[in-house]
Symmetry: C2
Subunit: 220 residues, 2 copies
């Protein structure tokens, strides 16, 4: 069933907004206020406050930023998924970073991911689609996701162990083998072995090269 966008008799779509920037909330509120099919039932700059309010307030769609202090959009989406599975979570963010998108879509299974570059018309369309059970993702988001998942797949074929990744992270922190050994409570010989195995697997043979690799693969 599809709802037309200028409905007036049906009950409005109840929306909650979460963004650490009050100005964005104000903008969205006023922006959606000219569309009577939406009703903003809650707004907050604080994720915990919002989660509390969902206990007493019926909400259809949660429109949330992703990168926020205290508690981020991913954590919010996971908790909403667990506690309020009927609420459709939509990320609305400046950030089109692959790993975040992947986590939000694959794990938190959010209903939509929009960039703040979208215009009013697309936002309204997206929200209506999502309310009607159709997931909505901006084109840029889909591109980023595909690129990220391609890299992720390549990563997996190299197959570094968790310990090896840990060692790489230590190397990136500019620790010597001895310092890494002390930190992880293992012998310096073991660190050398891991290092050796990492170099063999990745076909990289310097610490600096390894850091580059790790950044590209989002290990650090």
């Amino acid at each position: 069933m599809k709802l037309c966008s200028n409905m007036t008799s049906t009950s409005p779509i109840k929306i909650a907004i979460l963004d650490d920037h009050q100005i964005v909330i104000d903008g969205l509120k006023l922006l959606l206020s000219s569309h009577k099919q939406f009703k903003i039932v809650h707004e907050s700059t604080n994720g915990f406050e919002l989660l509390d309010s969902l206990e007493h307030e019926a909400v259809d769609i949660l429109l949330t930023d992703v990168m926020m202090p205290m508690i981020d959009g991913y954590e919010i989406a996971m908790r909403v998924k667990a506690q309020f599975p009927h609420i459709k979570v939509v990320a609305l963010t400046m950030n089109g970073e692959g790993m975040l998108i992947d986590k939000m879509i694959e794990q938190a299974e959010i209903a939509g991911y929009l960039l703040k570059t979208i215009d009013k018309k697309e936002l309204v369309n997206a929200l209506e689609s999502i309310y009607n059970g159709i997931r909505y993702f901006s084109d840029e988001i889909m591109n980023e996701l595909e690129l990220y998942q391609k890299i992720k797949k390549e990563n997996e074929s190299i197959n570094l162990t968790t310990r090896e990744i840990e060692i790489i992270q230590c190397i990136a922190l500019n620790l010597s083998n001895k310092q890494i050994a002390d930190k992880l409570f293992i012998s310096e010989r073991t660190v050398e072995t891991h290092r050796k195995n990492i170099f063999r697997k990745t076909d990289i043979h310097t610490a600096i090269g390894l850091i580059e690799f790790a950044k590209k693969r989002q290990i650090i």
Copy 2:
């Protein structure tokens, strides 16, 4: 002279808005629409378009984002300063990164720098102050600026030679002493000497640390 905030008879403050996110523009427009002392005379997601429009349109304050594709806020501010010195430029951005703030304030001499975390009331206050010739910077911005300028000052006292900077750039490219020697047509001994002097001057003793330092100092 100070203007009171609920004036109605005086001519409104003419504002232009530049932000690559249409949603932010919409938000700001609607947000300021409830304050009759402001009139938004131009809005754009494109910096070049905005610069063109300033030729025909009288503007008191330009409210602009900083990080934008095509042409960034700094470039905009510099051009406005040169071509339309009467226009007061105000940065309104998510980004509180020291170097940008420093460039915007010290070089482009903008009239205000606000974080998008500010609320409506502070935004209105800031715009009125700026219109009356009082520069306005958010507290967080001032803190970031001070921190950045402290680091900048420390950097300048180190005084690396051009050759040493060249060596650092090679190290960042992950070249060995031998490779650097070949590339610069000098002896490996000389590279070692430079490296030694760099480490002594900067009080850094690893290549990875040096790269971090170089990034912070914008050498690479």
